[in-house]
């Protein structure tokens, strides 16, 4: 053990000059844990925790980001920590896939930590120091999870991550609904974790050696490989919120404090994607094409489901949570396509699809955390999560509003922002599907393309509703007029993430270079070479004649035309402007209550996609004194899957309870019958 320690830390201990990048990352993790412990030390010193510890955490994120960016382009590094099981110390491996996701953790971590420094307020359930501990343990466990190179370390970190996030979710545990949300979350997380554990049980193939290296070396029989894959989909899907395992997500995200929801949505869901990639592309070999269709179908279903529900939500955070389900769905679609293409040996196309997924990972991490943080500001400024009571905040909270606008545009998948690049690449991937040798598939997949297009458009709908109802129009409540804008630290976080969204949108090529470093080892192919060949200005995965997109040119031209128009109008005519009451077809009485509500905005979706929802409407009768219209929307999954399962367990348990019915004679009878049965069995066996 001592020499293991030496081998692990010798360079780190003796000569800082020769520290590996991995060692530095471990130091960042250690620093996070230390900050967390300081939080326990200053359990209730609110100011210290907020103004010192969280900024330190942000610094850690920055360091992690820098290290990871370097590591993506570096050869893999390994290390072994002298903890874990006796024969199985923690194996760590920093390869480009891990580094890529570390970068995601880092970039989101910086923004969220900086924001959190300004966010947490006095007297919200758990003491601030404890929150600080849980928060940094959460960050550290995600980092270690991505680094883990053996099943035990992976599972430990996986569950630690779930646990830390659970405690963060129930930070304000005095509200029963928050408790139940946390309960549901941890339950599903744990079930998923057991599935993943069994998946590793298959992968280690009776060798008793749980390192990923060994799993890579095993070549499983098709049946076992399929079992491993399906278990992985079940386990990671439960964490990622794939339909029908998504039910915890819209409960837990709103329950958590906003920085936590941001981290969960932006990063934690991605760790599930990471795990799926790791198992599907790295640990398992030659995946058959139907694995791809499984992922593809799940992805399409989740994307449609998520976007439809997010379009009809009336709670800010629930809306965003469902939109996360949608984005995860798109990621799964990309991964599924990659598996399909690889199964048919079209490696460049597989690389294209996987690159699309990877780019989307980053952009979603950026804009979704931005949006969640923004809702956090709104929540604190107004104490209101219900869209129906918000409005007009762009005037009182310009910082939040304008940064959020960028996030909204990115999330709606509009050029020239981050979300669009990923969708564009994904659709490019679809365009090549006719080359698939399987007739059925190349009929099926384009329909998927249409579905993706529909999802993108609906996302736009949901986002316009979100931004328009919250920030535009007139305040629907009087007290919104004195809402306070974000504090300095919060602004820093928001700006960082907004800048990220813009950067990813305008300069996708460096990102694609990074993704290339990931796809090369996984697939043996990448698209960076061709992209590079087509010049820095154009993003063209194949050839310019085939498809190209240049965000810079795009933005440049639009801005130029706007500027030209502006100047021209000013010069040719004038710039006079008067303010007056809104005209509105000349209706005299204008009250904020005349604006369209969130429910109203969702109405067309509810009407068109009625069968997707489980709606309970109560319509007013013409004779009501004060008529009320009410509609509650639930998803069918509860009533189709979860309620029946719970009922079945309940029933079985009742049957079991009959066994323990208190009569000593009966207990003796059990023992007697057991004895007889065992004797008979033994006799029969002979």
């Amino acid at each position: 053990m001592t020499q293991a320690l030496a081998s692990a830390l010798a360079p780190a201990v003796f000569d800082p000059g020769s520290w590996l990048r991995l060692d530095w990352i471990l130091i960042v993790v250690g620093a996070w844990l230390f900050v967390g412990i300081l939080g326990i030390v200053w359990l209730r010193r609110f100011r210290v925790v907020a103004q010192v510890l969280f900024p330190l955490g942000a610094l850690g994120g920055l360091a992690l980001l820098a290290l990871a960016l370097g590591a993506v382009f570096a050869p893999p590094q390994v290390a072994e920590l002298p903890i874990g099981l006796p024969q199985l110390h923690y194996h760590l491996r920093l390869d480009s896939l891990a580094a890529y996701f570390l970068a995601v953790i880092g970039v989101a971590g910086v923004g969220v930590s900086a924001f959190a420094a300004g966010y947490f307020r006095h007297g919200e359930g758990t003491p601030p120091g404890l929150l600080c501990l849980e928060y940094h343990v959460f960050l550290a466990s995600m980092t270690m999870l991505v680094l883990a190179a053996d099943a035990y370390a992976f599972m430990t970190m996986w569950e630690t991550m779930a646990l830390a996030s659970y405690f963060l979710v129930v930070a304000n545990h005095r509200l029963p609904e928050i408790r139940s949300a946390g309960y549901l979350y941890l339950l599903l997380a744990h079930v998923g974790a057991i599935a993943i554990l069994l998946c590793f049980g298959v992968l280690q193939a009776n060798t008793g050696d749980y390192t990923f290296a060994n799993m890579r070396a095993q070549h499983l029989a098709p049946g076992w490989a399929a079992a491993a894959f399906l278990l992985a989909v079940l386990g990671f899907g439960a964490k990622a919120g794939i339909v029908p395992l998504h039910v915890w997500l819209p409960e837990a995200h709103p329950a958590a404090p906003s920085p936590v929801s941001a981290l969960m949505s932006a990063v934690m869901l991605k760790t599930a994607v990471y795990g799926l990639l790791r198992v599907t592309f790295d640990l398992l070999h030659d995946a058959p094409w139907w694995w791809g269709t499984v992922l593809f179908a799940l992805g399409i279903a989740s994307a449609l489901f998520g976007v439809l529900f997010s379009a009809v939500q009336t709670d800010m955070k629930r809306l965003l949570a469902y939109s996360s389900i949608e984005n995860i769905g798109l990621l799964f679609v990309g991964i599924g396509l990659a598996v399909l293409f690889r199964a048919f040996g079209m490696l460049p196309l597989a690389a294209l699809a996987l690159t699309a997924a990877l780019v989307h990972v980053v952009s979603h991490a950026l804009f979704k955390s931005l949006l969640f943080l923004g809702t956090g500001c709104v929540l604190h400024a107004t104490g209101e999560r219900n869209l129906g009571r918000l409005g007009g905040l762009i005037r009182t909270m310009p910082w939040v509003a304008w940064t959020m606008l960028l996030g909204v545009l990115a999330s709606a998948g509009l050029p020239p922002l981050g979300g669009f690049v990923a969708e564009w690449l994904l659709l490019q991937g679809f365009l090549f599907t006719p080359l698939l040798p399987d007739g059925f598939l190349n009929m099926l997949v384009p329909v998927g393309a249409a579905a993706v297009a529909l999802v993108a458009a609906l996302a736009g709908y949901a986002m316009v509703k979100f931004f328009g109802v919250v920030f535009l129009g007139q305040p629907r409540e009087a007290r919104l007029a004195k809402a306070r804008d974000a504090r300095p630290w919060e602004r820093a976080g928001l700006l960082w993430l907004a800048a990220g969204c813009v950067a990813v949108g305008l300069f996708p090529i460096p990102l694609i270079e990074m993704a290339d470093r990931v796809t090369q080892p996984l697939l043996g192919a990448g698209i960076a070479a061709t992209v590079r060949a087509n010049g820095w200005l154009l993003l063209a995965p194949d050839s310019v004649a085939r498809a190209s997109y240049s965000p810079l040119l795009f933005l440049g031209v639009v801005v130029a035309i706007c500027a030209a128009a502006y100047l021209a109008v000013r010069r040719r005519y004038h710039g006079r402007l008067r303010r007056a009451a809104p005209w509105d077809c000349g209706f005299p009485a204008q009250t904020p209550r005349m604006q369209d509500t969130a429910e109203g905005f969702g109405q067309p979706i509810r009407q068109i996609f009625e069968p997707f929802f489980r709606m309970r409407r109560s319509l007013p009768s013409p004779f009501d004194r004060n008529p009320r219209y009410e509609v509650t929307i639930e998803d069918h999954v509860w009533h189709w899957i979860y309620r029946p399962v719970a009922g079945a367990v309940e029933r079985i348990a009742r049957l079991f309870a009959l066994v323990q019915q208190g009569r000593i004679a009966v207990y003796l009878l059990y023992s007697f019958l057991t004895l007889i049965a065992m004797l008979i069995v033994t006799k029969a066996w002979h």
């Binding site: 309870a657 323990q660 208190g662 009569r663 000593i664 004679a665 007697f672 004895l675 006799k683």
Partner: protein, 216 residues
């Protein structure tokens, strides 16, 4: 002729077990139990004679003290003090339990057959009988609804075990014998204490009262 004597005693034990299974009255039950104890003592002595192992005499002595003298007196004392002389209603009616008992005996013999064939002891066949006694007293414990008969069933099960120990294996080593005897003794005392506690708690020894703890 001594081995035949052992077999005879074994048969007697089995007979007594049946009798106890079919017996209703507590007093008679105790008496039968005493007889069983005596039969056990005799068997031990005979085995001791056959295989002249002196320590078996000690074990016979202990058995006599415990099973024939001490325990019956304690039980008599108990039922006098707690006046539980009345009849025992069994959960299964007598003929049925007898039938089941017969089946059990056949089963036990069947199980023990291969073993008794290859054991070298004077009375290999006795193992089957001992097993049968154990199973029968188990039956009895299941079918009785009152505390005292259940305890008697428990004790007669121990008789069966002792018989197995002596007849089939010439008795366990002395230490173990002593230890077992000690346990039985303590057990009996604790039982006595219990009976009184239960009695003062529920003012009856009906086990029906002891059915409150359950999963509903």
């Amino acid at each position: 002729m001594l081995p035949q004597l052992i077999n005879l005693l074994a048969a007697l034990l089995l007979l007594l077990s049946f009798a106890m299974l079919s017996q209703r009255r507590v007093l008679l039950l105790i008496r039968l139990f005493t007889f069983q104890g005596m039969a056990l003592v005799l068997a031990t002595v005979v085995v001791a004679r056959v295989t002249d192992q002196p320590h078996l005499y000690w074990s016979a002595l202990i058995t006599l003290a415990l099973k024939v003298i001490l325990i019956p007196t304690v039980l008599h004392r108990l039922i006098d003090r707690l006046n539980v002389k009345w009849d025992v209603e069994t959960l299964i009616n007598i003929p049925t339990s007898m039938l089941i008992g017969i089946v059990l005996v056949i089963f036990a013999f069947n199980l023990a057959a291969p073993i008794s064939r290859l054991t070298s002891s004077v009375a290999g066949g006795t193992l089957g009988i001992a097993l049968a006694c154990v199973l029968l007293s188990f039956m009895m414990m299941i079918t009785r609804a009152k505390a005292v008969p259940q305890v008697i069933g428990f004790l007669s099960m121990e008789n069966g075990l002792f018989f197995a120990a002596t007849a089939a294996t010439y008795g366990m080593p002395m230490v173990v014998e002593l230890g077992i005897a000690l346990d039985v003794l303590v057990g009996i005392l604790i039982l006595g204490v219990f009976m009184f506690q239960i009695r003062e708690q529920f003012d009856s020894l009906d086990i029906q009262h002891l059915e409150q703890l359950k999963d509903d």
